[in-house]
């Protein structure tokens, strides 16, 4: 009755060969295509570095004014602007200005790429049930697989530094914007679409002038979620050499520096709250303008 109590598992040598085979195959892939991939991502690296340098080099009072204006443009709320300025001043006073700028640059670029790549994917998904059936499980995997798992192939392909960190963040953060774009478009009222059809709108016109505008609040909720998830990846990205607040959190973890850990952790929280509240308020305003009544 051995087979009942002991699971019939693969022999140790076969299992080892299987693992080794997988590793070797990936390493061969890395040898063959790694450099090409690195070259492919080089413009992205240039852009990220340029943006980082810009944020760091801009004198802090100007940076502060820009941030305040952006918050105002998004939220139209004076308390929001005041809260943001106070927390940024505190971050600067506690010596985390430069790291915060690095993190801001990373998050902004990651969010931008998520939007540019994610929204078209969401549109494709909404167009075809088959695409949706294929893409949904992939998004499920991306959202649930532990990030450490895909750090290994990213490291072997691209090494350490900003781009591999950025890619890890994007893999983790892109699913909400894709999902909610898809959902938003699918939720657009059928009657409205019929009306557009009866006016003789082409599919492209329909998408651009009817479906996308009506789906905007949902898409915006997706962007908001994407930003939050990108911020939560900051520390993980630092494990493969991304500079910024996450790196200081790792230093604190390695040395049991309680205060340093909390200071940098709370700075990440502050950025998250600002991003979240501003994008939510902006999303709500969009909803008001488009005068869609849900439910």
């Amino acid at each position: 009755m051995n087979w009942l109590t002991e699971f019939p598992e693969m022999s140790r040598t076969d299992l080892r060969d299987l693992k080794k085979g997988g590793d070797e195959a990936f390493k061969a892939f890395s040898r063959a295509y790694g450099e090409a991939l690195e070259n492919f991502f080089f413009p992205l690296l240039k852009f990220l570095k340029w943006f980082e340098d810009l944020l760091v080099a801009t004198p802090w009072p100007i940076m502060m004014i820009i941030i305040a204006l952006l918050v105002w443009a998004g939220s139209r709320s004076l308390p929001m602007v005041a809260g943001t300025v106070i927390s940024m001043l505190l971050i600067g006073y506690l010596g985390m200005w430069e790291d915060t700028m690095f993190t801001l640059a990373l998050i902004s670029v990651a969010t931008l790429i998520c939007i540019v790549v994610g929204i078209p994917f969401g549109i494709l998904m909404s167009k075809s049930d088959r695409t949706q059936a294929v893409v949904t499980p992939i998004l499920d995997i991306m959202q649930t697989i532990p990030p450490f798992v895909y750090l290994i192939p990213i490291l072997l392909l691209l090494g350490i530094g900003r781009v591999p960190g950025l890619i890890a963040v994007i893999i983790f953060a892109i699913p909400p914007v894709v999902r909610l774009t898809n959902l938003g478009i699918r939720l657009v009222d059928k009657d409205v679409l019929e009306a557009a059809d009866s006016f003789g709108a082409s599919p492209w016109q329909k998408m651009r002038t009817v479906q996308l505008p009506l789906a905007l609040p949902n898409i915006f909720a997706g962007v908001n979620q994407t930003i939050m998830m990108a911020l939560s990846m900051v520390v993980t990205a630092s494990l493969i050499g991304v500079t910024g607040l996450g790196q200081e959190v790792l230093v604190a973890l390695n040395n049991q520096y309680l205060s340093l850990g909390f200071m940098n952790g709370l700075a990440i929280v502050a950025i998250a709250i600002v991003f979240d509240r501003v994008s939510q308020k902006y999303g709500k305003r969009l909803q008001k303008h488009s005068e869609v009544v849900h439910g």
Binding site: R16, K20, K27, S30, R31, G34, E35, E38, L45, K49, F148, L151, I152, L155, L156, L157, L158, G159, I160, G161, R162, V163, S238, L239, I240, G241, V242, T243, Q247, E248, L250, V251, A252, L253, N254, N255
Partner: protein
């Protein structure tokens, strides 16, 4: 307690009759430290097999890390033997214990070629034979282009938050590397550091950075230590500046020598006889240890599996540590 005194008395009497003969026949019980990292496990397992099969001892392994094992030997006199005691971390205590005769270093280099420092892949040196020391390498940042700005050379440092991070920062400053076109890259974590080595070596790219030996990754890619080409500039420079976070004027220096001893207690020094001779002769060449660590990580072997592999694969190494009779006995048991 009574038994202990009796045992000590017998051991002392035994000494009078010639310890060699006694230990050969009736070695008795030995407690030995098994350090909780790969090379420590292997060392302890090989010692255990050789002492039990070759010398007829009864060896009990005590698992622990550097500090607890040392404290236990220093204060309680047990375990009897610590095979791979890293000294730098407990330097003052070790010196004191040896001065006061509580502990003895029977072997001051059980593994050769170990320590921290800068490493490069072997093919880098083959392709550029003129790179003899760190001083030569520092003149050639173009050979080690940084992925994020290929006009600069990259030296991969120690992950942020590790003690060696300060050392790397200060050496970077001491060798004036920034002015020569270098960037000190923070790999972020041990996984990042290992990953950057694996990536570069799988692709045949040049790589320069921090690591330490004996480790499986050094063995796997046969990384070569870089001699600094500069003398060690003294403990005052190292402890008072290089290894601190703020160091205004670091002097050029080679990396501080990492020392590993095989340590025995005073009591074991008296009764061990030929076993101490074995421990003194037992030296693993760094390359052999590296090869064994690669075996351990690839096969996910524990210390004992690896010890049997070592004894069969490197017979020419270990048979030199013991007399032909002992070697025959161990071989018979394999």
């Amino acid at each position: 307690m009574k038994n202990l005194f009796a045992a000590a008395a017998i051991a002392t009497v035994g000494l009078g009759f010639g310890s060699a003969a006694m230990a050969q026949e009736d070695c008795g019980e030995i407690s030995m430290a098994e350090f909780n990292w790969a090379s420590g496990e292997l060392l302890a397992a090989v010692d255990k097999i050789i002492l039990e099969e070759g010398y007829g001892c009864d060896v009990e392994l005590v698992v622990g890390g550097t500090a607890p094992i040392f404290a236990s030997m220093n204060e309680k006199g047990t375990p009897d033997i610590a095979g791979e005691q890293w000294v730098n971390a407990v330097r003052q205590l070790v010196d004191q214990a040896i001065d006061e005769g509580r502990l003895f270093a029977v072997n001051t280099a059980p593994i050769t070629g170990l320590g921290e420092g800068w490493w490069v892949p072997p093919y880098t040196l083959e392709a550029n034979p003129e790179l003899k020391t760190a001083l030569d390498i520092i003149e050639r940042p173009d050979l080690f282009p940084w992925a994020e700005d290929p006009s600069k050379g990259a030296i991969v440092g120690c992950p942020a938050g590790w003690g060696c991070q300060f050392v790397m920062n200060n050496l970077f400053q001491a060798y004036d590397m920034e002015a020569k076109g270098w960037v000190l890259v923070d790999p972020g974590s041990a996984a990042g550091l290992d990953g950057s080595i694996a990536k570069a070596n799988e692709r045949g790219e040049n790589w320069l950075g921090y690591y330490w030996s004996p480790t499986s990754i050094i063995g796997k890619y046969n990384l070569q230590p870089v001699p600094f080409g500069v003398e060690y500039a003294g403990d005052e420079n190292w402890n008072g500046c290089i290894s601190l976070e703020t160091c205004i004027d670091p002097a050029k220096t080679s990396w501080i020598k990492s020392e590993v001893f095989t340590i025995v207690t005073d009591e074991f020094m008296q009764r061990g006889g030929p076993i101490n001779e074995y421990l003194a002769a037992r030296v693993y060449p760094g390359s052999v240890m590296g090869e064994m660590l690669v075996y351990m990580s690839e096969e996910q072997a524990d210390g004992e599996d690896a010890a049997y592999e070592f004894l069969s694969r490197f017979e020419n190494v270990w048979t030199q540590w013991v007399s032909p009779e002992v070697a025959a006995k161990v071989k018979a048991s394999l």
